[in-house]
Amino acid sequence: MEHIGFGALPYDFAHLLGGVMLLLSFTLLTQRRISATIATYAAQALTLAVAACWQGWVQNEPALYVTGAIAFVAKGVFIPLMLQRSLARLHLRGAREEAMGIFASMALGVALVVLSIMVVLPTTMQAGALTREDLALALSVVLLGLLMMITRRTAFTQVIGFMSLENGLILAAVGVAGMPLVVELSVAVLVLVGFVVFGAFLKRMDTHFHSLDTSVLDQVASENR
């Protein structure tokens, strides 16, 4: 593939999309209203779809278009709608939850981003700056997703954190030149996500706990020892 570097459009645009995803991750991190969180996630997924398609065009890998389509349909549209519906059913639409303070979560997030850049930076350049920068961004998204999972309380938001984490994964996958099995992998991850979401609902329906606060549930585990 031809040399791509700073100033070249493909690189800049990919980089821009990655930056947007990262930004959305930060938003997710600090967003308090659940419905707004879902919306933000949808936005991130859509960005991912665009990024995938862009990469598909850049590396002229038709497979990546499929990935983008999956991201768009499933994660950008279907899952968010479903989540919103269930929120409505649970009368949680306007619900807000106590996330970490904005500054604290931001600070942690920035620290994680710095860490991921630190880790990726020493990589030698010749593989094309594209992948390297993308990798840094994807890693940051992943770490931020994790951070969200551990800072949020309710199952919903944890699920959303997991899904944004998974967005980071796909971002990394599509960013890598000529990675085979991308579609298969993304489908598989999607299945995983689907199961997570499904599991959240399952739990909501089957357990007679009134809140989704998982810390309540967890005490069950320590009951029978």
Partner: protein, 669 residues
């Protein structure tokens, strides 16, 4: 020739390990008989080996640690212990029956136990040694928990197996340290360890085989385990297993560590030996359960052996061959005699529990009238326990004391003072053991019965009777012909101290140093016999014959109340009261013995009571703190399990971030 004998012993081992357990599942009594016969065969083979001059033999068997072959061998040292184990095994399996005369439920473990000990003795590479050792532990654990419905038995089992795991791990570490270039003993000897490694091996040997042998401070498992196990099993454990542990100790410290060791190597053994001897003998005067008394005296005797070994090791380090061989001879002789008389005593305790239905000193007494054979052999063994001439115990303790006297040659003033203190403590331990022996015999066998069961006691059945008589025969032989025993153990001495006592051994007796006078039990016994004959003749001539029976006087002894046809047990000294002076003298300081007297006021009708509590220092200062520490750590670990999913994920992320930081820093460097 030796090779053939070794193959024979290996066959015996295989039969004990594989065939007889299966047989015992179906037909326990037959299994015991087979085990007895097999052990006897092994003993005969071993005797032939010893008479052949104990030329070492090596044998390689094609299986063992994953895919490798195993080396078995026999030399003078192992042969001596094989003899002891085989004889004890034969006696125990002949006597084997639980306390109600039925074969015990854990019958298959018995021959497994004996076979494992044999494997441990014949092993000539690291894996076989540790495998035999651990198998011995497991089998004996199964036997200890035979009567598992009793809660105390369960506790004893827990403690026992825990200690066994500890000693096993230490032994594994020790031999692994010695075997960097090949696991066979020959390879270990070929590459002796550096002094530092050797010191670690010394510590590990103290903790591992040491605790198995019952050396202070890891002796706490011994009394409860021996009390829990069926009597013949206790006999095996005390008479054979502790000796096998001593064998492993000797093998490690005298043989495998190699020649280059300093005299101070003896000191740890000596120190632990002193502590074990005094503590064990003192506790033997305090315990109420017969088998606990015997177990404590085992601790004492193992301590004596350890003292002898320590002196031998130090002397070897200082190149005093004559002294080291004398000390080693004393240790080995005491191993043999103790193995004999302790087996006998435990068998007797089984016969008492079987016949009188109790093991508590407080509910026995007067058994000498109803159980003459048991009483006879027990008195004989108790003489050894008390170290009175011309018993086996006296012979070995005489040798040990001689070596302690000679130990002043080991070095400067420090060593000399050490040997003086050693002599004093040796004497103290012996005297304490004598008191314990008198207490045991006097309370259990003599006087008047303290319970209905004791009053109606019955003599043991033929198998147990024969087992006791045969062992008594053996003990008597050891006592009367210590020279022969030393001759047997001479090959062992040439293995461990590269010295010999042949220049000091006669058939009738032996001497400490080649030029001085010695000890000839036959002469002592003959003297006593002649004198008794003369006295008897004089009395026949001069005194009025016969005697008149009458009720006890005792400054006006009351008639026994009707509901106690065998007399009021409270009117005679009990085990506790016999030990009371010693408890006040030494127990309060060494064993933290406390008396709580509850004396009702005049007019108050409730009975007065005294409660005595003992607390073994090893438990108070070692086990309990460790247990508390363990509990604290477990508590901390437990907190992790109350974590929510979020906290668990937090841990995950923390680990991830930590690793990322790690590689980041590594790469920046």
């Amino acid at each position: 020739m030796s090779g053939i004998l070794l193959q024979g012993l290996m066959t015996v081992m295989a039969v004990l390990l594989l065939a007889i357990p299966l047989l015992s599942f179906r037909a326990p009594r037959l299994g015991f008989l087979a085990a007895c016969v097999t052990c006897a065969t092994g003993a005969v083979i071993d005797l032939v080996f010893l008479f052949q001059g104990a030329a070492p033999a090596v044998l390689t068997v094609p299986f063992g640690l994953a895919g490798q072959s195993t080396v078995l061998s026999i030399d003078g040292l192992s042969a001596l212990f094989v003899l002891l184990v085989m004889l004890a095994g034969a006696m125990a399996s002949l006597a084997l029956r639980d306390d109600h005369g039925h074969p015990i439920a854990t019958a298959p473990a018995v021959s497994l136990f004996i076979g494992a000990m044999l494997l441990c003795l014949l092993a000539a590479d690291a894996f076989a040694l540790v495998a035999g050792f651990e198998l011995m532990s497991v089998a004996s654990f199964i036997l200890v928990v035979t009567n598992h419905r009793d809660h105390q038995v369960q506790e004893a089992g827990r403690l026992y197996i825990g200690m066994a795991v500890l000693s096993g791990l230490c032994l594994i570490a020790a031999v692994a340290l010695l075997a960097p270039h090949g696991a066979s003993f020959s390879a270990m000897r070929a590459s002796p360890p550096t002094p530092g490694v050797a010191a670690i091996v010394l510590i590990l040997a103290m903790v591992g085989p040491g605790s198995k042998a019952g050396l202070v401070p890891l002796h706490v498992w011994l009394p409860p385990a021996h009390a829990a196990a069926p009597a013949p099993v206790s006999a095996l454990m005390s008479g054979a297993m502790t000796k096998v542990a001593l064998y492993v100790l000797i093998r490690l410290l005298f043989d495998l560590v190699g020649p280059g060791i300093a005299p101070w190597w003896g000191l740890p053994l000596i120190a632990l030996g002193i502590a074990s001897a005094v503590l064990g003998a003192l506790r033997a005067n305090m315990e109420i359960d017969i088998k606990k008394v015997l177990a404590c005296s085992t601790i004492e005797n193992v301590g004596l052996v350890a003292i002898g070994l320590g002196v031998a090791l130090a002397a070897r380090g200082a190149d005093l061959t004559a002294l080291s061989s004398l000390a080693a001879g004393g240790a080995l002789l005491h191993t043999l005699s103790h193995g004999g008389f302790k087996t006998l005593l435990f068998l007797a305790s089984g016969s008492i529990q079987y016949g009188a239905g109790s093991r508590s000193l407080e509910s026995l007494g007067g058994l000498i009238k109803r159980m003459p054979i048991t009483a006879g052999v027990m008195i004989l063994a108790a003489m050894s326990l008390a170290g009175l001439p011309p018993s086996a115990g006296f012979a070995s303790e005489w040798t040990l004391f001689q070596s302690v006297i000679a130990a002043v040659r080991l070095g400067g003033l420090a060593w000399q003072v050490m040997s003086v203190v050693l002599a004093a403590t040796l004497a103290l331990a012996t005297a304490l053991a004598a008191a314990a022996a008198v207490r045991l015999v006097g309370v259990v066998l003599l006087g008047r019965p303290r319970s209905q069961g004791a009053a109606e006691a019955v003599e043991a059945g033929p198998p147990l009777r024969w087992a006791m008589l045969l062992s008594a025969l053996g003990v008597g032989f050891v006592g009367l012909f210590p020279g022969v025993m030393l001759w047997f153990s001479d090959p062992a001495m040439s293995v461990i101290v590269h010295g010999t006592m042949l220049d000091r051994i006669g058939y009738l007796g032996f001497t400490a140093t080649s030029d001085s006078a010695g000890y000839a039990p036959i002469f002592t016994l003959g003297l006593i016999a002649i004198v008794m004959a003369v006295i008897w003749a004089v009395l026949r001539a001069k005194a009025v014959p016969g005697h008149r029976a009458a009720p006890l006087w005792d400054c006006g002894f009351g008639d026994p109340p009707p509901w106690q046809p065998f007399g009021d047990p409270l009117a005679q000294y009990s085990g506790a009261s016999f030990g009371q002076p010693l408890r006040r003298m030494l127990g309060t300081t060494l064993l933290a013995a406390r008396e709580k007297v509850d004396l009702p006021l005049p007019g108050d009708t409730r009975p007065a009571s005294i409660v005595v509590t003992l607390n073994d220092p090893a438990e108070a200062w070692l086990l309990e703190p460790i247990g508390r520490l363990r509990a604290i750590i477990s508590g901390m670990a437990d907190r992790v399990h109350f974590m929510t999913v979020r906290q668990a994920l937090t841990l995950m992320v923390a680990l991830l971030v930590g690793l990322l930081l790690f590689i980041a820093t590594v790469e920046q460097l």
